[in-house]
Amino acid sequence: MLKIEGLEAEIEGKQILRGLNLEVKPGEIHAIMGPNGSGKSTLASVLAGREDYEVTAGSVDFLGKDLLDLAPEERAGEGVFLAFQYPVEIPGVSNINFIKTAVNEVREYRGLPAMETKEFMSHLKEKQKLVKLSGKLANRSVNEGFSGGEKKRNEIFQMAMLEPKLGVLDETDSGLDIDALRIVANGVNELKSNDNAFVVVTHYQRLLDYIVPDFVHVLYDGKIVKTGSKELALELEDKGYDWIIEEFEKKS
């Protein structure tokens, strides 16, 4: 479903991604780990189409389409969702109004009529329950005055509402207590199907106790330098990244 080949990207003239390859098939969960500053958020941003980043080489195919050729909102329409590492506040815009606009914009992109209010409300209720988002939060302005954990749950709520084909979670687990972590993980597990896939960026293996990945990748210096199974995450937790970096530098 997603095929990234030789991806290179820079920001403000500084190269961050240096030939990244990754293939994700429907039904899979991929975890991406790596030290701070290795380019994880950059990868997520490039996939979502943030324009600060310039792609200088490589290709990204998403369900047969050249993803890099699409505007961010078109990518969303095609089914790409990014749960932001730092969700943005939009004062005065209620969460409900925001997500309703989003749902209907995506539907419009797909040639579907706007969702009837009744249908939308029941959809909303169901997804709200999934991530235990209180009705109060749903009526508040988007992310404004939300705690860190509430913001992250709100991201998963939005993802649940939009039902993407590819969900990219950028450190959604950072700063969450164990209960919130479970809620977030549960949300992902409920959404998971044979038709969609997730790329989960994380620092900590503990998230992977709840969201079980099919693959674990280590991102370093703008490339994926090691790929393994779930056990790799445990090993990283135990030994840190240094041994991988050494291994990688010896090779090159």
């Binding site: 932001f84 943005v88 004062p91």
Partner: protein, 483 residues
């Protein structure tokens, strides 16, 4: 995103063409160009006015001749040539309309193109619409229902004929002829407008609404509105307008006067969408308006809510004179400027009575190369013991070639008064736009969403039906050529 890319997006998103530009074909009768005593006699004669009103106009004209155009506002524009303006245009006099079926279909079509089908409004919202088209009222609805309650809602001309005592008593009582250059001009040449009278103890059961529209090329517009709320009464009054696209600058200098007696409340809401000129700023309306309310007696309340998206140059300060003890004045404003528009708007709250209270919430949004200024005066007189004011002025910038300015003036002569002022300036962030885009929301829509969020606590004060229209208008006025 590089700087120039960002500029381009913002440019596209903020350089929308005016969507309501068109001219409709309605026969009119014009006055001679220019302003002399003759012009004023012509207007007064056309309208079959009584002698006292002619005298009143002529006195205003005398005063006006000795006055100069104000130039303290943060706006610049070529001064209108007052001798090059046609001061009167009326649709050819036709018989009185009992129902909308009799109204010129052209006019009805015009309203339909504006998305304001009168019929639908009547049915859906129970709004009585007094349509003012090029200075003369052509349709008045719901009149009977209102008259059962003793409410008067009619054109100003009609009021002059039917209720001369009321007009004589109140005209110029809140905005004197010599108040300022434009109010003097208006007093001399006003063509028509609306009159609204709510008798003692009556709660007006529906929103009273007037749609103004400039339709005759090169015609100055001088509307006059007078609202009187007697003791214990309540009325919510709406005024909105759009105008057809044209090349020459058009002057609009309206006067609105509100008088609120003991325990009464007047809510005045307006959506203003005069033609702002093209992207280069050519041909827009000059909107120099004097709006003032007098809380004449105790416990009265006047509330101004305005959404300003149009005009090339706006100069407008709806104000409250809080004379009665415990009276309340409110001002909620959204002013949007785009392209080359200039707006200098705000309010004056004059506290005279004891324990008077005022609230000011102003939201300025500037895009393109526009300039948007808030100018507000809070004045607490010696006798205004316990007066309180709270002002909040927020500015939102879209792009970095526009300007937002805040000029709050406070004059406080009573130590027991409490005056608070808060101000913020923010920019629509690329982060916010990208967040919206990532959720599938196009940039135009996203700007609309963010701007409406920014204005929320003002929009919440608009009557429901009006708020929906106003929200749409905000989106449209900031919409780009994208898509």
């Amino acid at each position: 995103m590089s700087m120039s890319d960002e500029d381009k997006i913002i440019e596209e998103a903020t350089s929308g063409e005016y969507k309501y530009g068109f001219v409709s074909n309605i026969d009119s009768e014009l006055a001679q160009k220019g302003l002399t005593e003759e012009t004023i006699r012509f207007i007064s004669n056309k309208k079959n006015e009584p002698e006292w009103l002619l005298e009143w106009r002529l006195k205003a004209f005398e005063l006006w001749k000795g006055m100069e155009e104000p130039n303290w506002a943060h706006v610049s524009y070529p001064k209108p040539n007052f001798q090059d303006i046609i001061y009167y245009a009326a649709p050819k006099p036709k018989k009185k309309y009992e129902s909308l079926d009799e109204v010129d279909p052209e006019i009805l079509k015009t309203f339909e193109r504006l998305g304001v089908p009168i019929n639908e409004q009547k049915a859906l919202a129970g709004v009585a619409v007094d349509v003012v088209m090029d200075s003369v009222s052509v349709a008045t609805t719901f009149k009977e229902k209102l008259s059962e309650l003793g409410i008067i809602f009619c054109s100003f001309s009609e009021a002059v004929k039917e209720y001369p005592e009321l007009i004589k008593k109140y005209i110029g009582s809140v905005v004197p002829q010599a108040d300022n250059f434009y109010s003097a001009l208006n007093s001399a040449v006003f063509s028509d407008g609306s009159f609204c009278y709510i008798p003692k103890g009556v709660r007006c059961p529906m929103e009273l609404s007037t749609y103004f529209r400039i339709n005759e090329a090169n015609t100055g517009q001088f509307e006059r509105t007078l609202i009187v709320a007697e003791e214990g009464s309540y009325v919510s009054y709406l005024e909105g307008c759009t105008a057809p696209q044209r090349d020459e600058n058009q002057l609009h200098a309206a006067v609105v006067e509100i008088v609120a007696m003991k325990d009464s409340e007047v809510k005045y809401s307006t959506v203003q969408n005069w033609y702002p000129g093209d992207k280069k700023g050519r041909g827009g309306i000059y909107n120099f308006v004097t709006k003032r309310g007098l809380c004449a007696e105790e416990n009265s309340k006047i509330s101004w809510t305005q959404v300003e998206t149009g005009s090339a140059v706006t100069w407008k300060y709806p104000s409250c004179i809080l004379k009665g003890d415990n009276s309340v004045g409110e001002f909620f404003s959204v002013a949007v400027t785009n392209n080359m528009q200039q707006a200098d708007t705000g309010t004056k709250m004059i506290h005279l009575g004891k324990n008077t209270k005022s609230t000011i919430v102003s939201k300025g949004i500037s895009a393109g190369k526009s300039q948007n200024s808030y100018r507000g005066l809070v004045k607490v007189a010696k006798g205004a013991k316990g007066a309180r004011n709270f002002s909040q002025c927020d500015s939102l910038l879209i792009g970095d070639r526009c300007g937002a300015h805040t000029f709050p003036y406070i004059e406080c002569q009573n130590k027991s008064a409490k005056v608070e002022h808060e101000a913020t300036t923010s920019k629509i962030g690329e982060d916010q736009l990208f967040y919206c885009n990532q959720r599938g929301i196009k940039t135009d829509k996203a700007i609309g969403l963010i701007v409406n969020g920014f204005c929320k606590n003002v929009m919440d004060n608009l009557p429901m039906e009006f708020a929906i229209e106003a929200k749409k208008l905000l989106e449209i006025s900031l919409e780009g050529s994208v898509g």
